[in-house]
């Protein structure tokens, strides 16, 4: 299927058809999930209503990590098999992943405030997500740092692979650091084990976020492809105009043989 979609024109056709359906389904699932988590699920006996933030915080953490994995896999495909759309997919997905990390950090901050009175706690998950945020920023900065867009794309792909290899090491070291510095009382945003009635709306929200990611990704990829076509047309237009003027004036030959 991947090679079937490799042709940009075919991808545009198929994604154009799929897009409204994907958008519709993701909207429905998200509304369902939000309703379930915000209204139907019972409040936590300890944390009260503020536990509902978990239904956005935890799935966005999952998405932050999954999208980075997606970027890494797409980058590997781009570097090894030179699939033409893989680089576009990775570069389109990265800002979405960064947005998910930001949502996770913001909701984590909002969640922690009523519990511990501070806007930020250095718990293991929040810290890991913060580092992930900077991995995303590094990738996006690297891709956009070059005047030659293809060089930026290739450099970014390599960085994504380096990042995914380092991610377990970084996660391990952050967890290690957390256990070293935290006192015995568990300063975890996760709190006690999640009850099964909480699990179902979590999974629905996760599904909704995934569908939303898919929809956003397709929108961004289509935009990126259209941008490239515009650029190519502009170059073509300039080259065609240049050729026409050269042909009319007579191109200069080098003076020696």
């Amino acid at each position: 299927m991947l090679s079937h979609l490799a042709n940009p024109a075919r991808f545009m056709r198929i994604s154009g058809v799929a897009l409204p359906w994907l958008g519709g389904v993701s909207l429905v699932v998200l509304v369902l999930g939000l309703f379930w988590s915000l209204i139907l699920a019972p409040p936590d006996y300890q944390q009260g209503e503020s536990v509902r933030i978990m239904f956005i915080h935890v799935p966005s953490a999952w998405m932050a990590l999954s999208v980075y994995l997606f970027v890494a896999v797409a980058s590997a495909v781009a570097l090894i098999w030179r699939h033409p759309l893989a680089e576009i997919a990775a570069q389109s997905a990265a800002p979405i992943g960064a947005a998910f990390t930001f949502v996770c950090l913001a909701t984590g901050s909002l969640w922690g405030r009523p519990m511990w009175g501070t806007w930020w706690v250095w718990d293991a998950r929040l810290t890991s997500v913060l580092v992930l945020f900077f991995l995303y920023l590094g990738y996006i900065a690297l891709v956009n740092a070059f005047d030659d867009a293809s060089r930026g794309g290739r450099a970014g792909s390599l960085l994504a692979l380096v990042g995914i290899v380092n991610l377990p090491i970084i996660k391990f070291s952050v967890d290690w650091w957390n256990t070293l510095h935290q006192p015995a009382s568990v300063l975890r945003l996760g709190g006690p084990a999640i009850d099964v009635t909480m699990l179902a709306p979590l999974l629905v929200m996760a599904l909704g976020f995934t569908l939303l990611f898919g929809w956003l990704l397709l929108v961004r990829m289509r935009t990126a492809l259209n941008e490239r076509r515009l650029r190519a047309l502009r170059i073509y237009g300039e080259a065609a105009a240049g050729n026409a003027s050269e042909a009319s004036s007579g191109a200069a030959r080098p003076a020696w043989r």
Binding site: D147, D148, L159, S173
Partner: protein
Amino acid sequence: MRAFLGLIRQDLRLGIRQGGDIGLVLGFFVLAVILFPFGIGPEPELLRRVAAGIVWVAALLAAVLSLDRLFATDYADGGLDLIALSAMPLELAVLAKAAAHWLTTGLPLVIVSPLLAILVDLDPAALPSLVVGLLLGTPAMSLVGAIAAALSLGARRPGVLTTLVVLPLYLPPLIFGTGAVEASLAAEGARAHLLLLAALSVAAVPLAPLAAAAALRQALD
């Protein structure tokens, strides 16, 4: 082998001839450490509590600052072409460059660190684990930094970009290095932390040159 040593020798000779580079790194290291007492107050108990962190963070920042020396001049003056066309594989050339970088950046940091430990009132019992930790962790920093330096070649703001890219990758050595010092103070023994640091450096030796060489080929393309 001749090519490998020759590349290290050239970079060392350049580093010593242009002695200002080593001096800059050390100067920044010392200045960064000195800033902290001004920032957080000079009370010895407070400084002692954060001493390991101060020294390690300053070492890290000094290392990051020196990364643009790795490939940027060769890229700008055409030397990188010659390195790519030399008798050794590009991965070995990266290893040679990283080794020379460590000898002119990491090793001086290790040597100067006891002096700085005095400035921040580090408990003398923890000094060995600080020095050994830096000794074991700085090679990993040179190698991983080489990846970031190679990726940024030809970019618009290479210095800032290298910093942004490399800092998340420097977290593990920082965490294990400071952990080693605190563990030795808590009489737990710093061995686990030091072994982890050594593992990072050992793992970086085969892996980092692969990524950095790939990045260099992209830069030459």
